[in-house]
Symmetry: C2
């Protein structure tokens, strides 16, 4: 079974400790599954205590044995009761009573925060460390990039499988179920982790025809009718017809690491409007790959792309239409779908080598359909390198 | 497309309003996906404002059109900015400035709570209404029970498919992927919603042999190695051998409503120890169905079942072993996997007609394997009625 190497874990913890020291926080306590996996190499019911300096301690309720097997971190200490948490944190801080404790306040539910704040650390100031955690996680190591390339190999298999599976008259859901199976057999874990409240997804958005141009509660440029009001996004029972763009937007998970990919297919000739818009989407990618170099600012990149779009006849349909437009064109990803950086209005993050982001310029034209291309990109000194290797042409079947 | 009927929505809101009045809360603001679906009939990026008396208002950022199509509630009001939230809430409260506003503090992240508490409602007291929401949701209407029966029809198809799909030498993951496909084609939405922080699942736990007896971070009697340290629960690459119990524990979702089912299979004769333990598991179900009548108390039911178990040679292996034992034998379910009531130590909920719960006595015997039977039950005046119709015998293939 895969193990995250010790040097990975060590450098991640050192990066977080640097930010703790810089911001005067005595210790961070990490609870959330994706963060635990990142900093320990395993997902257990546990608390990882990272003091600003010195050795971290992994306190585990369940399962201690598995934590020891999967995580290179030591010590792993059984935590039978939350009563034992504060003393363990104080110990990790060198025995002194710390003044400032950091928690992941962007994901910890309010009631759990109250319990930590009032019952466990009544004399400490509890602050939010989630921004710094996300900052550390934003820069991927070569090992992580290798994992993301392996995730891409799954996406590639899905893209390659579409021509053999797509048939006129099948429903979007039928195609989606077949493609899910391909992905799962190729190693896709199934689970997709989001950081933001209420965000959820199942495999992706396989959408077709004019009906695809419907937005949803999900903060994504495409929504889709979905299979139910209980889950109103993604594929529905709609039948796929010839002459429709079929947008296959998938998210796959290889040992926690994600790949996000959108490709377009059509049985027979596509609608000229969407074919032309897709040609422009490819042009956007070509220009953006050169533009988005280390040192550029995410909000400025966003404005620049919008300048290109405003000169076309599709400006009203970029990233949604009307009130349903989303405020980003790309999003970081790694262990979660919604990592830093966002290529979004007003954002001030400076691109650095080692960042990864899904760039997804898309046009949503009511009454006509949707088209877009999405790759997961790595920021390199030379600009963006696409991790996605599947052909980018609009594939006519 | 399915719509939740108006009379359903109306009676749910009245039930919540009763509890708001009783507890002196002026209005509840509902944000979380499962709660929104329950009280509005749709999942949108919205705020449902339920005043203690008078008409609720559904404020929607995205998608307003879909909210109006899917929800029978009126008015649906576009909410462009959170600045407009407080005035809308005050309006819904009859124009008066309310003193106490209720939020779902068990699921709302701390940072979002701070924003509501400090920026939007600085002069109101913000209290937790999640307990009352869960109390209302705990009692299922005949319409909801009908939905849960339809979910069961999917589980039944999965159970019926196992004998045709299970082959010696296939991996747990291969079987799981095949069964997922069966469930998805039969209408399973895929997504599974949990209420508790960090809880997550993908389809279920298909586990086999001695290796199955490993616990995980998930608060469930069975864990399983899982496909990765990134997702250490459920099926793994382990090959299924003859003479092993294969435990097929699945969770399916029909238009939001869940069914939870565990059935046991074996290629050839099963290990005698597990066969005998499974016989006792069936006996527990038989006794529990009669015992768990309206008026009984969940914590007392828990103790009673434990009394039965303590008289057997398997007491050390019930619901886990050693430190990894879970503290419940059953859990409510409906739109979420972890609803009220829990058949758990010290719980004081009194069973009522219309409650639904997954009852899952299981033995986890290290070095030997696992066995258990799980049905989703409805509490009726006569005791428990199983919604699950798949045969309960240990199926020898």
């Amino acid at each position: 079974m895969l193990k995250i190497p010790m040097n990975e874990i060590a450098s991640r913890i050192v990066a977080l400790q640097f930010l703790l020291v810089k911001n005067g926080v005595d210790a961070a306590i990490i609870r959330q599954n994706a963060d635990l996996y990142y900093f320990t190499g395993t997902v257990q019911d546990g608390h990882l205590v990272v003091p600003a300096s010195g050795q971290p301690v992994f306190l585990v309720k369940r399962d201690v044995v598995r934590a020891e097997e999967q995580s290179p971190l030591r010590p792993v200490v059984p935590l039978k009761s939350l009563k034992d948490l504060a003393p363990a944190v104080f110990d990790a801080c060198g025995g002194a009573s710390p003044g400032k404790i950091g928690l992941e306040l962007d994901v910890l539910p309010a009631n759990i925060f109250f319990y930590y704040d009032e019952k466990i650390f009544p004399r400490q100031q509890v602050v939010d460390v989630s921004g710094w955690i996300r900052q550390v996680r934003m820069i991927k190591s070569p090992w992580e990039i290798e994992m993301m390339r392996k995730a891409e190999a799954i996406s590639r298999q899905v893209a390659d499988a579409v021509p053999g599976l797509l048939r006129e008259g099948m429903t979007e859901l039928e195609l989606s179920i077949e493609l899910e199976s391909v992905a799962r057999r190729a190693g896709h874990l199934g689970m997709l982790r989001f950081r933001a409240f209420n965000m959820e997804m199942y495999f992706g958005h396989i959408l077709s025809g004019a009906e695809a141009a419907v937005s949803s509660y999900i903060d994504a440029p495409t929504g889709g009718e979905g299979p139910s009001p209980a889950f109103g996004q993604g594929s529905s029972e709609k039948k796929i017809r010839a002459g429709e763009i079929v947008s296959v937007d998938i998210m796959v998970n290889y040992h926690g690491y994600l790949n996000d990919q959108t490709r377009n297919y059509c049985i027979g000739p596509p609608p000229p409007e969407l074919r032309d818009a897709y040609g422009f989407v490819r042009e956007i990618h070509g220009r953006f790959k050169k533009l988005a170099r280390p040192g550029t600012v995410t909000g400025e990149l966003y404005e620049e792309v919008w300048q290109w779009v405003k000169e076309t006849r599709w400006a009203d349909f970029f990233m949604g239409s009307g009130d349903t437009r989303v405020s980003f064109i790309g999003h970081g990803l790694g262990l979660e779908v919604d990592e830093f950086p966002f290529i979004a209005q007003g954002h001030k993050v400076v691109l650095q080598e080692g960042m990864t982001l899904a760039f997804e310029p898309k046009f949503i034209i009511p009454g006509v359909g949707i088209t877009g291309l999405e790759n997961t990109y790595l920021v390199t000194a030379m600009g963006l390198e696409s991790l996605n290797t599947a052909g980018e042409e609009l594939m006519i079947l």
